[in-house]
Amino acid sequence: MTTTSLTPEDRIANRPRFDCRNAYVETLAEMAHDNHRIVGVVNDSVGSSKLDAFKKAFPDRLINVGIAEQDMVGVAAGLANGGRIVFVSAASCFLTARALEQIKADVAYSNRNVKLCGMSPGMAYGELGPTHHSIEDIAWLRAIDNMIIVVPADPIETAAALRWAAVTEGPAFIRVSRMSVPEIYGDDYEFVPGKAITVRDGDDVTIISNGTVLWRALGAAEQLADQGINARVISMPTVKPLDTDAVLKAAQETGGLVTAEEATTAGGLGGAVAETVVGNHPTRVTILGVPEFAPTGSAGFLLDRYGMSPEGIADAARALIK
């Protein structure tokens, strides 16, 4: 189905790349313009969330509690109690680790209309090291009831997820990447929670991915195609609730599943996929992710190191169906 005649410019690895935070702040400002109930809450993270323009346009509606994450999430729940649609915007490592109990009790269990936007997640902070990496956020939040988890793969999906969140009552966690990624979706993309998207069809093997790793999975599929292997690539922006139908269909129709994500190998997308197949259609699953406190390096370097370069993902897929 895919030929080996891709020109270098056609290959996804060579396309222009974009910082998803720009789409984030543009969309947030646009929505806030149309809906006065939308507010932002930050922990001094105006600059790192690129919210300066939002602050300028809506000075009263950007609540900056200072460097105080527990207060930040509690305040967000209180603003929601007052009828606001609340977008918390903070580095994912501090948001999810420091305020985990507030996320559980004040947002999820209380069922408040709070959107937790984890900025610069995964290993985006690269050389700043594991204190600033947020590879655990997916696993932690996946264990909490009443929490939708979205990991957008490009600026278009980031904007679409935000637009969905603004009109949907209830808690959600949305990762917003700072590591530049190529565009994967067209402008007509509509985010549907809990729905996977088959971004490339194939029936030899399946790669399930999301976030900053999705383009790398597509790059792997290009390389596999060069070698005559047709890989299905499933984009799984919603880690919770998982599109179990898409997972089981891939388990039945292809030779095995590789999951690849910028998150811990324990309890993330890979864990969710494994939990799904083990009870319904036992299938070989290779989980690619970050298995440890990462050593010094940029996010790109570290993803490559943990087998998530296009070559690495292709290797894992080939090994699975050998």
Partner: protein
């Protein structure tokens, strides 16, 4: 052990006072409600064989004052965006909150018979999705104040006159999240926010002083930008005057240190750490009810500000 049954849920329901009621009438209304709430709450804890009676009894006068004569919220306006908010940060006194809500008609008094029973809406900590009138699912300590600050900011954005009250324990102030919230409350000049501290000086197993002393609490709250006022937390007149005075100082949030006793006013419970979550026996239940039946409501003048 018999379970709490309908014959044990006989508390009268107190209507909403006329806004023109005199101060004396308001105080009498609060006092009688508080007395009946305590009698019902004793039964709740006795028959459920669990609960936090000590902290319940230190907080009931504050809650009876708020629901009896201060809060602009009724069972009919419980979803009105412009209602006043009361957030119970010390969620472990859920029994006192449920009983207070029932006393003022927010939930049927007979529902109290389900307290802590399997699948009951009346969990050991409050759940707003199951019980009307509850504003936040509290339980872990140090959560109420940030939520209250968030609501007060929301009210300010709405240019609304609605008020926000939050009741915290005193041991609970050892949680750092409260102090984060206090800094934000001051920064945002939330003068329609009132923090009430149930200053009973006891935590789970010891005094606050022995554990992690909070003093000088008044100076700390003042330094954090609050208008501080100390009251006798069992004196309905003082509570009514202070809690009705919003804003207490324009531009500043209010910090009410309500001096209380755990287990108040029961002779064998009052100021006794053992009654943090001890359950009264049948004899103790009867003695406590007898003491309350013979008690006369009291009142006095307003609190002292500083």
């Amino acid at each position: 052990m018999t379970a709490l049954a309908s014959e044990h849920t006989t508390m009268p329901v107190f209507g909403h006072l006329s806004p023109h009621a005199s101060r004396d009438a308001q105080i009498a209304h609060i006092a009688e409600a508080a007395r009946q709430i305590r009698i019902q709450d004793l039964k709740l804890v006795h028959y459920a064989n669990a609960g936090h009676i000590g902290g319940d009894f230190s907080a009931i006068d504050v809650m009876a004052t708020l629901y009896g004569a201060v809060l602009d919220v009724t069972p009919e306006t419980v979803d009105d965006p412009e209602r006043d908010r009361f957030i119970l940060s010390k969620g472990h006194v859920a029994g006192a909150l449920y009983t207070t809500l029932a006393a003022f008609g927010f939930l049927p008094v007979e529902d109290l018979a389900t307290f802590l029973k399997p699948l009951s809406a009346l969990n050991g900590h409050p759940n707003r999705n199951k019980v009307k009138g509850i504003e936040a699912n509290t339980g872990p300590l140090g959560h109420g104040m940030p939520i209250a600050v968030g609501h007060a900011i929301s009210a300010k954005l709405d240019v609304s006159r609605r008020r926000t009250y939050v009741l915290t324990g005193d041991g609970e102030l050892q949680e750092g999240s409260n102090w984060e919230a206090m800094m934000a409350a001051s920064q945002y000049e939330l003068d329609r926010l009132t923090v009430i501290v149930d200053r009973n000086r006891l935590q789970q197993g010891a005094t606050t002083r022995e554990t992690n002393d909070l003093e000088p609490l008044d100076q700390k709250a003042t330094a954090f930008g609050f208008a501080v006022v100390e009251v006798n937390g069992h004196d309905h007149g003082q509570l009514l005057d202070v809690l009705s005075a919003v804003p207490f100082r324009p531009g500043k949030p209010t910090f009410v240190i309500a001096h209380t006793h755990k287990g108040h006013p029961i002779s064998f419970m009052s100021n006794n750490a053992a009654w943090h979550h001890k359950v009264p026996s049948a004899e103790q239940l009867q003695q406590a009810i007898d003491e309350l039946e013979s008690a006369k409501p009291t009142s006095s003048n307003g609190g002292q500000s500083r």
